[in-house]
Amino acid sequence: MTHTPALTPAQLEEFGRELDAIREKVVADLGRADVDYIRTVVKAQRGMEVAGRALLMFPLTWLPGTALLSVSKILDNMEIGHNVMHGQYEWTGDPALSGQTFEWDTACPANQWRHSHNFTHHTYTNIVGMDRDIGYGILRMSDDQSWRPYYLGNPVYALLLMVLFQYGVALHELETERIASGEITLGDKREVLQEIWRKTRRQVLKDYVAFPLLAGPFAPFVFTGNMTANLVRNIWAFSIIFCGHFPEGTQEFSIEQSRNETRGQWYYRQILGSANLTGGKLFHILSGNLSHQIEHHLFPDIPARRYAEIAPQVREICQRYGLPYNAGPLPKQFATVVRKIVRLGLPTRRSPLPAVAARVAA
């Protein structure tokens, strides 16, 4: 049973202030180094994309072509796309880095992502019934989701989601679980569906029709290369993302608990609901710095390259206030996620959510 440390309102306020101070210090320091960094990543990504697609035109270079295209898609979606769309580089005034207009190389329409991720997921992180990232509407990822026989297929649905992650993410705003339960109809989601179809169609035409056809007789190689690159990105992104809020030790919250949150309480929920992945600099870049999930959830709109430098300060604050700082290597964290997926596929006794009193000492 995970321990939920209690903090007095005064402590929570001081806690919030200390974290605010970290953010302000970073914001005041933003400048050329940050924008040079992201432009370097963008240049590398686009270079790899062009090189990868060019190499895929020839069967002999299928492997390096696919590898380069895989990394290019990973960088575009994670270190560049996810971070830019969070508004992390809005302060530059560069339209190429504007979160509100950025579109990414994946089937999910950026507008829908901005709504479901930046707003819904980040505001209501780990609140059962409000954060739809808890299970994505098809999985049982929390004890607080009531078990149904449908969930016996939990591991299968997770595997399918992982392989088809691009399309799973694309369909997120469709709220298929609410359509299935009859709460809303497909007709209610007509515009959402049209937008998804428009984006997905262009991506499919690009990767599976246009580029293969350009290669003439070598079309099958380009087709499989593009498919493999998409698959690699899907598996990698799924693994990193699922390690963000589901490893052993992360906590969910009820709607009642999170009502009328102060800033300190919001920070508290973000920390307890998130988990980090340890690794080297390259690992952090390839994970889009989602390896610093805790820092990202505390400060979603500061450039992700800054998370590594503030992590020690965040960790120190957690230690002082007695809060858990959940961090571990990818294989270990992912193993606990897999265990959870399998365990929750079976009926489990509903464990009570940490009581309100346990979170805020009287």
Binding site: V27, R46, N118
Partner: protein, 351 residues
Amino acid sequence: MFTQTYALPRPRIPGRLLALLAGPHGVDRYTELVDPMWTTENRATVVRVQRSTPRSVTLWLRPNHPARFRAGQYLNVTVEIDGRRHTRCYSPANAEGVPMIELTIARHDGRTVSEYLFRSARPGITLGLSAPAGDFVLPAKPPPRLLLIAGGSGITPVMSMARTLADDDRYDGDVAVVHYVRTLDDACYRRQLRMLPGIRALHACTRDTRGDLPGHLDERHLARAMPDPDAVYVCGPTALVDAVRRHHPTAVAESFAPAPLVIPDTPGGGRITFSDSGVEAENDGRTLLDQAESAGLRPASGCRMGICHTCTRRKVHGAVRNVTTGALSTEYDEAVQICVSAPVGDVEIAL
């Protein structure tokens, strides 16, 4: 922003196929990585820099697409300083049709962009440009007696007009240029003006006895420069424009000097202009989102706590204070999260 308007003719990207293959980013976002000038967006490279007076710097820019401005118009120029882009209006001083754009920027103390350009402009840096704009232009057939008056950096559009007329073989009228400066050393283009055929140039120094005319503008200056002009053009500080208009009420004018930003101590006071909706409201100090909603507008919003950036809009001008951090931001054309931004004084927001 680099791309303000799209009035300039832009090379068409060949084929929807290319757009599909280069999607979703678009071809520009690949080509500009090879060379920042290889883009359909309007950009320019600085090719030469000269600090001809102690308080001004002249830049010669090579644009990637022809700028096609009319003499007297201005361009929005975007420069990146320590990672942030800033946009300011400058009038090219070269004649119409000359491919190289010549800008002379007056250095104002404490002003970010002019200070940066004066200190750090060098050949090779890339600037963003907009389409030309402005109504301070000569008529299609310029009248025979033309009086052009400039105050300080207002000389730049006037210089463009004078050079264009001097180059124009079909024009044989009389042009007088009067440039108001503090001291003669501050008069940029003094030499160039005197060399222009058919243009009579006079310098009026307000703090120097070496000028052709002493002190501030009055009837004697105007009489000496040109007693009966068919048209008068004036570009400079508001005081100069007002003084000219007292004698020539129909003078065509452009006022250059940036209005000083008056920041009151308390959050409320002043007016908010919601420029996209054509709505105005008294500023009561609450966040821009709250005040917009009270005014009947429905801007997109999300977390209402400054996290998700759903509500980010462009603040055209004015000062806002971040209600979470207390930070004040006064920059023009700045992206602000309206849910945590409280206007201070007059603010114009694009919503």
